[in-house]
């Protein structure tokens, strides 16, 4: 058996294609990005080494603050909407006596399988100031509020983040629902016998036991907020002006719009660093709060 598993040819044949492709297409470009972030480079020639210049320039670039702020807001909308509302929905729908669960779950999930282009363009129509669904709805209901959803500098980032939150709600909901379902029913029964109300029991038992689920959902929501791009590209092209810039938008514009590849690489490195840092922090916080059973 040992000899069987030590077949060198088989190991090479099975492992090498994957490892080579992964190294060439994933690892090598990552290292390139890091290396090139220290260069003044237009993507063509060798470029000139300029030390930390790109990073110094980046930390003085007003677009960085805009992007970080937008990333944080985007993430906040996702967390509040998907994790907050998603939790309530997952807890209610987990009740086995509820009718129509299949229909509800399917309805929540349909937007997830749609193309992001379709979703963004649909929401451009929904947000349309004169003919869009939302402003029309306000008119019909007699609410004297109209909003230029996508061209208002203050509202547009929230409006855009909401589109992402809406589309992937079903995904986060499914994760949360699976988390609720994984908790043995005896726990709930015991708590209700001890005189807890249903929501009290959820608050003291279900939610604390879902630490792992929350950790995962939170990492997804926050990192997709930090790296958001497609929605602003399609819906406002980063505008009005540069108000809807994100880190990925900066990379895109500097690299493919202005051919400052070296500088764009520095932005990319900062983006990864922030994502990893946030992931590490979330992991850390949730480890400390882990409940021992």
């Amino acid at each position: 058996m040992r000899k069987y598993y030590r077949n060198k040819w088989a190991i090479m044949l099975f492992a090498l294609p994957a490892l080579l492709l992964y190294t060439l297409i994933v690892i090598y470009p990552v290292l390139q990005s890091m290396y090139r972030s220290f260069f003044d480079w237009d993507g063509l020639g060798e470029g000139t080494f300029n030390g930390l210049d790109n990073y110094i320039r980046l930390f003085n670039d007003p677009l960085l603050m805009t992007s970080l702020k937008n990333g944080a807001l985007f993430a906040l909308v996702l967390v509040v909407f998907q994790l907050g509302l998603g939790t309530i929905m997952a807890l209610v729908i987990a009740d086995p006596r509820l009718r129509g669960r299949k229909v509800l779950k399917t309805g929540y999930f349909i937007p997830v399988v749609l193309s992001v282009t379709v979703v963004c363009q649909l929401w451009i129509a929904i947000y349309d100031p004169t003919n869009g669904l939302i402003n029309k709805l306000f008119q019909v209901l007699g609410i004297p509020y109209q909003q230029n959803w996508l061209s208002s500098p203050t509202v547009s980032i929230i409006a855009i983040a909401f589109v992402n939150a809406w589309q992937y709600m079903g995904y986060q909901f499914s994760l949360l629902y699976a988390g609720v379902k994984s908790i043995p029913e005896q726990y709930m029964e015991a708590a209700t016998i001890d005189g807890c109300t249903k929501w009290g029991a959820h608050r003291r038992i279900t939610i604390p036991m879902m630490v792992e689920t929350y950790k995962f959902c939170l990492i997804i929501a926050v990192t997709s907020g930090i790296s958001a791009f497609v929605q602003m590209l399609i819906m406002t092209n980063g505008g009005p002006g540069t108000t809807n810039y994100t880190l990925t938008f900066m990379i895109y514009r500097y690299a493919f719009g202005e051919f400052e590849y070296g500088y764009a690489c520095a932005v990319a490195v900062v983006l990864v660093a922030i994502s990893l840092l946030v992931t590490a922090i979330i992991n850390r916080v949730f480890r400390q709060e882990k409940v021992t059973h």
């Binding site: 088989a10 994957a18 490892l19 992964y22 297409i25 990005s33 993507g43 363009q121 669904l133 699976a178």
Partner: protein, 278 residues
């Protein structure tokens, strides 16, 4: 007390159905306006079903946009990428789950790193790499990166699956004189079939809807995948809402139908990630 609980639970169920509307009504609205003219969409009947169905929107849209072509491109790219990922990942997973070699655990960690690498950090060097290999505006420009990018996640799911397979099956195959290749293809692969189905759905959907790389690497109209081809709102057709709705509806129908048939499998496939990253 009981009454209060009862009304509370009705209220909570109300939340579920209200969000159901929030989730589904925009799509109903889109399908409705795809069958209306602008007058009906904007003034006379913005919310409900069309009064008379204007199928001509669909006919016009079909002739104006190369939808079948985008479809074909998306089908080719997604299918080939998925098959490539499955092949490479299942084989690789077997070597880190079972085979005995010195760099085994190093290889596992090495591939795990890929889970934490966002596309954004590789996209600039990748764009240059694709250009250097003369792959710009070819299927390869998308298929090769999609395969490489799908490997870490898929390999780790298969790995998790394989380490839980009892070793006796392979032992007896070995006793019977089967080669390692035969054991792999005739015993291991059939056992991991459920995981293969899950990963296939996951990766296919991912490739089908991938936007960022396609946007950077494909500019030729004839090579565009569906998410790129549909990007026309700010273009010349932006005043023709009916036609636009028709295009978007046609583009969405196949995926939604597939999802309605296999909703349980799709949900499981997309949420399998929590088992790996968590």
């Amino acid at each position: 007390m009981l009454l209060r609980q009862k009304s509370g639970s009705i209220l909570m169920q109300g939340v579920l159905w209200i969000y159901f509307l929030v989730s589904v009504y925009p799509l109903f609205w889109m399908v409705s306006y795809s069958l209306k003219n602008n007058d009906e969409i904007f003034v006379t009947n913005p919310f409900g079903l069309p009064l008379n169905f204007r199928y001509e929107n669909y006919i016009n849209a079909w002739s104006q946009f190369s939808i079948p072509n985008y479809f074909l491109n998306s089908v080719v790219v997604s299918t080939v990428s998925t098959i490539g990922i499955l092949f490479l990942a299942v084989m690789f997973a077997y070597t880190i789950a079972r085979m005995q070699w010195k760099l085994r655990s190093a290889a596992r960690v090495y591939i795990l790193i890929g889970m934490f690498i966002p596309l954004q950090v590789i996209m600039i060097p990748l764009a240059i790499l694709v250009k250097d290999f003369n792959l710009v505006n070819t299927y390869g420009a998308l298929i090769i990166p999609y395969i490489a990018f799908g490997l870490p996640f898929s390999s780790l799911v298969f790995y998790g699956f394989m380490v839980s397979i009892p070793i006796e099956l392979e032992e007896s195959a070995c006793m019977d004189g089967a080669s390692i290749y035969r054991t792999f293809f005739q015993i291991i692969v059939p056992i991991v079939k459920p995981a293969i189905a899950t990963i296939a759905i996951f990766q296919f959907l991912g490739a089908w809807n991938e936007f960022l790389l396609a946007y950077i690497l494909i500019s030729d109209e004839a090579m565009k995948t569906l998410p790129l081809g549909l990007l026309f709102f700010q273009g010349e057709y932006s005043t023709d809402w009916g036609g636009m709705g028709a295009v978007m509806t046609m583009a969405s129908i196949p995926m939604v139908v597939v999802f309605l048939f296999f909703s349980e499998q799709v949900e499981r496939a997309l949420t399998v990630g929590s088992a790996v990253k968590g």
